[in-house]
Symmetry: C2
Subunit: 315 residues, 2 copies
Amino acid sequence: MNSSDLLASFFAGSRRALAKVITAVENEASETPALLHAIYGRVGKAYRLGITGPPGAGKSTIVDELTKLLRRQDYSVGIVAVDPSSPFTGGALLGDRVRMADISVDPGVFIRSMATRGSLGGLSQKAQEAGDVLDAFGKDFVIYETVGVGQSELDIVETADTVIVVLVPESGDAVQAMKAGLMEIADVFVMNKSDRAGAARALHELSAILHLRPPAPWQPPVVPATASQGKGLEEIWQQVAAHREFLERHGQLHRKRRHRRESMIRELVARRLQQEFWDERAEQLLQEHLHNFPEHSLSPYDVVAALMQNAAARR
Amino acid sequence: MNSSDLLASFFAGSRRALAKVITAVENEASETPALLHAIYGRVGKAYRLGITGPPGAGKSTIVDELTKLLRRQDYSVGIVAVDPSSPFTGGALLGDRVRMADISVDPGVFIRSMATRGSLGGLSQKAQEAGDVLDAFGKDFVIYETVGVGQSELDIVETADTVIVVLVPESGDAVQAMKAGLMEIADVFVMNKSDRAGAARALHELSAILHLRPPAPWQPPVVPATASQGKGLEEIWQQVAAHREFLERHGQLHRKRRHRRESMIRELVARRLQQEFWDERAEQLLQEHLHNFPEHSLSPYDVVAALMQNAAARR
């Protein structure tokens, strides 16, 4: 299928075309810039949720249940699951996604896993682009889900319009969340597995930590939930809606989206600069230096100076 | 103190000068490239350990105990603790480091925390440079310790010569580790808190997962430990020594270090390119575009094309 046929199918609502466009984004295929350029006029309608938290907090279950709730209200949903890849499978680990069987056969839901490891960098950019593609396709909601709370995963979820941080009543979980930088990106907290012993204490601990923060126009609510039993989902949804209403009322939704666009442009520039710089001659200069490493080798700063000179001379 | 006085003190073994040079690296001070250039001739003697694992696995305790063990053998130690920062403190959270009181007063040990969040990118580069500074200062061992298992944290520890992954006997911890991409970077596994119930089963589970891997010249050993009681530290140290011996025998230590140098040069180039590109005119072009966002705005690809044209015209 050539690019214009692919785009025609995409705009006609073909799931297969959607999958192909996202695959092109993921593989940084040569036609990707042209495809994205063509769809950019339609980007901007979807509302984006980011869901993160420590491994084992039940993020996947919450995404599943929230998706079902959104589907009952007839919203269409796209899910970008940011999964680390593993050398055992050579790709994204789909363990969690298997549980999603009931939503993954729903034509109103589209799920894509993206791998963090082994990527040539730019995962955040790719996840962003995949969200844009789902948005342009007409999804009402795009949900970003992470496996862990790594920096690259946080970079992705924090571009969302509303960020949900999922914790469980483990001793010190709230403190660990603070240390992992989750406190500053959360718009809504969910204390999942609230049927467990210690839930009341954990909720109290989290509230106490939140009260240490300076007052802000939006105070992140804490929602107790037991997602595996479908409990608390309505409340999570209400808090997401309240946060959205808050963002719109204060013009912050527009600011967030403009910021997202700015980051994207800066990232695209960074990639273009790298591609232009590392031509055959530059690679050769670098390899000559490394060949002599560590004896008789220049300081890395001398090597960079030589490389920059080479690039200037080439122009 | 000017740069040459600072360097003289540094090479004379002043801890204060060491602290100042690392601070210059962390702040990307204008004199940093010159300082690093001056010390590069002395880089390459320290052996580097990376220690990672999920929050709460006891990594700090293992670093403490391992440091004490190394000190008993009269080795000097530098520790770079990669801590997420928090809006509450405005800097790196030092909770874990407080426990290190007994080693932090030892003049043979130098500890520095570096923050992941709020950094202008390049944390991996800065942590690398801090390790180089400790190396040039004459430390025999440089230990990188992370709080969590985020991508940027893994990027840092995996540049180490030997990577230790610390797990605890929690249900499914080994599976979570696999999902977080820890399996592929581990040279030595430590099953900490092995006095807990379920330790035998967890060890068995981890071994079973490891046996799924294709045979490799180095098979990561699994060391049970209870670091809080000082148990298992000798065994960890023996496995680190065995791995080092393996690397040296197969020429891999040299390859790792050359690779580290290569990554550093590529990162320095990327930063230089960005600095050169984003001059006043480029920033202005970007802001003009964002001002019109989202109505009447160009596609991000058009904006990038305009920016690249501007850069080309400037030369």
